[in-house]
Each structure stands twice: as C-alpha cells, then as structure tokens.
C-alpha cells in the first residue's frame, strides 16, 4: 500500500508513522527521533501562505491541493544509457545516481575517490559513519522554522554524502544525478544531501535534477554543507525537473573561518520552483560567491530566495542572479542580506538582472538589507528590461541576421553568470542547453 498525502497538514503529519513502519524499520534510533521532531515542526508550521512575508510572491495553493505519494517501484525504467545522456561530455567525475530519491548503485560510478575521502549514499553513511553523520545532519537546516525543511527531514530517503578530510584537495567533481520517473501517480520525493569539506580542503559537487517524464511530482530537496576552515567548495545545482513539477530546494551552507564557496544555480524546469540559498558566513574572512541563472516559459513560476548571513567580521559575499523570462512566466528574486551585530567590515554585493522576452512575463525583485552594524559595505542593484533594441540594430547593421543577433545578446546575458563556473565541461553543456532552449523560444516567436 502506497503512503498517500492528500495535501492537508494532517496527512503529512500522520503519514510519518506509516513511513517509519514501512521502509525505516532498521534505521538507527537517532534518525527516527529526528524525523519525529521534524514532523512536529511541520505540524506547527504547515505550508506557508501568501501572508508569510517570505512567501508573498509564491502561491502554494496548487501544492496544498495536490495529492502525492512515496515512490514504490525502485529504479526500474532508468537505464545506464539514459543516465549517460545526462552527463557532461569530457568530464572525468564520480557519479551517484538516485531515482525518485533512492540510491541506484548499479547506475553509479563511485570509483576511487582518494585517500580518506568518502563519497556514498547518505543512507549508507548513516549505517557506516553514524557518528559523523549525526554530528552534522539537520544541524544547520532548521526544521523548526521552515516547513519544507521539516518535511524533508521527516521523509528523506537518500541523497549524497561527501566527506573530504582535512588537508585534502578532492580534484574529481562529484556528479549527483537525481532522476524522477513516472509511477502513474504524483510522487513525493525528498532528496537529502550532506557535504562536509574539512580544513584546508577542496571539493566540487554538482547536484543535478532531471526528469525522465513530464509528470507531476513534488520534489523537496535539502542540502547541508559544512565548509571547514580555509576550505573551498564549488557547488552546482542544476534544476531540469519536469515542467509540471513542484520543486523546493534549500542549500544551507555553514562556512567556517577563511572558507570559500561558489554556488551556481541554474533553474530551467518546474511549474513552481523555490530555490533557497542560505550561506552563513560564520568565521572571519569568509567569501561566498552566489551565481544564478533562471529561465522560465509558459506559466512557470521561479522564486529565488537568497539569505546571505554575515555572522562574522571581514567577510565578503557576492550575488549575481540573472533571469530570462518568456510567455506568461513569473520570476521572483528575493535577496536578503543579513549582517549580524559584530560583523564589521562586511562587504556584501548583490545584482539581479532580468530579461523579459515577452510582454506578459513578470518579475518581482526585492532586495532586503538587514544590518545590525555600522561598519559595512552593502550594495544592491536590479534591472528589468527587454532585449536592447539598439544593440540588436547595431549587430544587424553589420550584416548579422536578427535571429543570430538575438542569440548573441542572450549568450552575453547568460554568460554573465555561467562564465564563473570553473568546470568547463559543465559550463559548456549548460551553454548548449541554454542556447537550445532559446532557439526553441525563437522558433515559437515571430523570429524578429
């Protein structure tokens, strides 16, 4: 019997005991306790509504009305060939594949990561490195305050676990591929990822979400990252979910002294998407570079919610987010910068630029600076506009066809964020995906 959630708060709360009985019998006590605590968080919170300040622009009515269930069919229906088609040509990497939130070891290549490095599924890590996982899991993403984090913490089945010990540069990127499939009814999928990068270490992790079908499902992702002292992490979140999916994600990064993160989000799929990026710069001299590119069409709704928390002095953060919106789609950029008391010499910068390809696309962009300190430098800027008509004319006047001119302009715009990706095969694959999308857009339009 499938566990079905009918959309009400009660169904998600009451479903937990059945979930624990069916698949989680062998789970360690502490995990079960954690799940129970988390669901009581959700029982208090429920899904946010438009009257919640942080959800003003994103209506979750359709999610609340939807009925979803836990996947049952395992990994059948996903072949190695289809998994390969989601790869990045020319990239030498480790690959972990998850199907509807469950680890597919037969489709994964975990190979040899290197001395002391652990790359495995989180469920394996819970049984094999229980103490290590326990020290970090759910310590950063707050299930008492965020309904989606509560749900994920209650219902997660699996995800990636990456551990890089101190003083280790992990050269090979980890490609974490989450595939969703159609099981005939809308699924509720809760990928949970944990990445720990030790002192003076480095890692690159690519979270990649794709769908083998254009079905409706509710995917709810939480990734926690610990970036140790003087460590470096480059993180990618590539969201190519079904156009009908509900997709919610939180990237919660705990940064220690002198650590560096670069976060790249590319959003392309989903009916309603919410992408939370929440680094806490928790030691002196941290640096966070947050890049994002979202592309929407039809009636897609993409809500980008940044919460950059400066908790220590002498930290820098940069946010560069670009949106390309077509048809009747809607975008939200909510850029919150929170500077704690005592976080002197904070240098925080935020830029959000939006390109509207149609008259009916819409974007709400909202900076929000919350500063409890005098000695800071915070800047923000947002632009919204159509493609620069004068620039197009200039290009055409040199003999370049209009279609090509538009492609050139779009590439320049999207490269503002993509060019910061250090893994060339990933960047190139994304550039191609962006161009393919845009060419489809041009085909639908009048070409001029």
């Amino acid at each position: 019997m499938a566990i079905v959630f009918d959309g009400t708060r009660e169904s998600y709360v009451e479903g937990l005991s059945e979930f624990l009985d069916s698949g989680q019998k062998d789970a360690p006590e502490w995990v079960t306790t954690l799940r129970r605590e988390a669901i009581s968080g959700f029982a208090k919170l429920g899904f946010p509504t438009l009257s919640d300040e942080e959800w003003r622009f994103t209506n979750l009515e359709a999610l609340r009305r939807g009925s979803f269930s836990i996947a049952e069919n395992g990994i059948s229906g996903v072949s190695r060939k289809s998994v390969n088609s989601y790869g990045f040509p020319g990239l030498d990497c480790l690959r972990l594949v998850f199907v509807n939130g469950r680890f597919a070891s037969s489709l994964s290549d975990t190979g040899d990561a290197g001395e002391g490095i652990l790359v495995k599924s989180l469920s394996e890590a819970i049984s094999e490195q229980g103490d290590l996982v326990k020290d970090h899991l759910a310590r950063y993403a707050d299930y008492e305050k965020d309904a989606f984090i509560s749900l994920n913490t209650s219902y997660f089945e699996d995800g990636v676990f990456v551990y890089v010990p101190d003083g280790t540069v992990f050269e090979k990127p980890v490609h974490v591929l989450h595939v969703s499939t159609d099981e005939g009814r809308p699924l509720f999928i809760n990928p949970r990822n944990l990445i720990i990068v030790g002192q003076s270490s480095a890692a690159k992790v690519i979270e990649h979400y794709v769908s083998a079908s254009q079905s409706v499902y509710f995917s709810n992702v939480v990734t926690e990252v610990v970036c140790g002292e003087n460590a470096n992490l480059e993180h990618y979140r590539l969201e190519f979910e079904s156009q009908k999916a509900f997709n919610f994600t939180t990237l919660r990064v705990n940064q220690q002294k002198n650590s560096n993160i670069a976060s790249h989000s590319v959003l392309r799929g989903g009916a309603i998407v919410r992408n939370n990026v929440h680094p806490v710069l928790g030691g002196e001299g941290c640096n966070s570079d947050i890049y994002g590119l979202f592309m929407s069409e039809g009636r897609q709704h993409m809500d980008n919610f940044m919460r950059v928390e400066h908790a220590s002095p002498h930290c820098d953060s940069r946010q560069f987010y670009n949106g390309v919106l077509d048809d009747r789609s809607k975008g939200v950029f909510h850029g919150r910068i929170l500077v704690h008391e005592g976080a002197e010499k904070t240098d925080a910068k935020q830029t959000n630029r939006n390109l509207l390809l149609s008259d009916t696309a819409q974007i709400d962009t909202k900076p929000q600076l919350e500063i409890y300190n005098d000695d800071v430098k915070c800047t923000h800027g947002a632009t919204i506009g159509q493609m620069d008509e004068e620039a197009l004319f200039y290009l055409c006047s040199r003999g370049i066809p209009m279609r090509k001119a538009k492609i050139i302009m779009l590439r320049a715009f999207t490269n503002e964020t993509l060019e910061h990706m250090s893994i060339d095969p990933v960047r190139e694959t994304l550039e191609r995906a962006v161009m393919k999308w845009f060419e489809q857009r041009l085909e639908n339009g009048d070409g001029r």
């Binding site: 620069d388 290009l395 006047s397 003999g399 370049i400 209009m402 001119a405 050139i408 320049a412 503002e416």
Partner: protein, 244 residues
C-alpha cells in the same frame, strides 16, 4: 549607386524627413551638413534600415534595387555600412566576435566560405595597426567602456574589415583630437576608389580638409536646401546656417 527620392520619414507621428533627395554615384564622396535636429542621423539610420523610423513616402534605390523592404542585415550584406554617431555598447560580446560573425554573414550572403580564425586574425591585425588601435580592443566587449575616440576608430575599423560599397559616416569626426582625426581620415581615404562611395555627415569643415568631398549638401528641417562643391563647406563655416 544610391538614389533617394522624395523621402518622407516619421517617428511617433512626427515628420522628420520631409522630401529628401540625394543621388550618389559610384566613387563619389558626399558630405551632409546641417544644424542639430535637421534629420541627418535619421537619414543615416533609415538608410541602414532602422525600424523605428517609418518611411511614409518616397523611395530608396541602391545599385538599382529598391531596398525599402530589406532588413538591416540584408542591406549590410548588399554593401551598406553605417558608422554610428553614437556607437552602441554591448557588454559581453567581444569586438572580435562581432566582426568575425559580421564578416562571415556577409561572405555567406555572397556564397563565399567563412574566413578561418587565423585568416581573420591576420586581417584584423593589419587593419588595426594602420588605425593605431590597440590589439586588446579586439578582445574587449563591443564599445563597452571605450573612450569617445576609441568608439569612432572602432567604427572605421569595422568599415575597413567589412569593405562596404556605400559607407555612411555619421559624425565620425566629432570628439576626435587632431591626430585621431587624421587617422580616421586616412582610414577613409585609403578605401576610396571608383566603385565605393561615402556619405560623410559632419558639423565641421575641418574634416573635409582631410576627406575632400565631391559634393556638399546643406540639410535643414528634413530636406536638402542647397548643394554645391567643397567650397560650400567653407561658406557654412563662416556664415553658419542662418541664411537657410
């Protein structure tokens, strides 16, 4: 080569060109002078095919062809080049990329093979040297952060690469110091030949000392009110446009 007859153009229901005539034969250099707002740039942009300007009456033929229905890129490929009064800044698009795309679009239009990277590089370097353009200008984004003089020189550089049959230079001399002016003028003069024509729009007779025109036209309120030889430019410099 170019024949403009009774051209009427409006923007937002406002008539700007009000019966403009000009005929340019192959190999000729025509200069158009006239007060601010008389419609010189409008003419230039209309020749290049800017859609914001609506042609309500009249005709434009280029090499015997009616070009009014041609898109800007088609006109460019037919051989028309406009050096903009205000060259547009395009961040994120490298100058060299624009030029190579432009040149290859033109070659494709003529059923020629695209130029190889090396060949293009050689060509670009040669022309740049002659114009005293720094090589890293090629790598920079089109006009982005260029000084006024660099932008104008870049226009001439593009013209040299694209080798048009008709080049319309809209105030390419404005804002140039005398050395830059000479470089730009040399760039134009080196391209003069019996098959190529120029329309040089300027406010200053000074430029015409270096690019000597065959004809000078005075444009006032949307039409040519007087035409003459190069001495007309001197007269205008002395007396201004008050008499028109």
């Amino acid at each position: 080569m170019l024949e403009v007859k009774n051209l009427h153009v409006q923007v937002d229901d406002k008539e700007i060109l009000k019966g403009m005539d000009i005929t340019v034969a192959p190999g000729e250099v025509h200069s158009i002078m006239g007060p601010n707002g008389s419609g010189k740039s409008t003419l230039a942009q209309v020749l290049a095919g800017r859609e914001t300007y609506e042609v309500t009456e009249g005709e434009i033929t280029f090499q015997g062809k009616d070009i009014l229905d041609l898109e800007p890129e088609e006109r460019a490929c037919e051989g028309i080049f406009l050096a903009f009064q205000y060259p547009v800044e395009i961040p994120g698009v490298a100058n060299t990329y624009l030029l190579r795309e432009a040149l290859n679009a033109k070659r494709e239009y003529r059923d020629e093979k695209p130029l190889k990277h090396v060949e293009f590089g050689k060509l670009a370097k040669e022309k740049m040297k002659a114009l005293g353009i720094d090589e890293d200008l090629l790598k920079r984004s089109v006009n982005a952060g260029f000084s006024g003089g660099e932008k104008k020189r870049n226009e001439i550089f593009q013209m040299q690469i694209l080798e048009p049959t008709l080049a319309v230079l809209d105030e390419t001399d404005s804002g140039l110091d005398i050395d830059a002016l000479k470089i730009v003028a040399n760039g134009v003069n080196s391209m003069r030949d019996s098959g190529r024509s120029f329309i040089v729009i300027t406010h200053y007779q000074r430029l015409l000392n270096y690019i000597v025109p065959d004809f000078v036209h005075v444009m006032v309120d949307g039409k040519i009110v007087r035409s003459g030889g190069k001495e007309l430019a001197h007269e205008l410099e002395e007396k201004g446009y008050a008499g028109f």
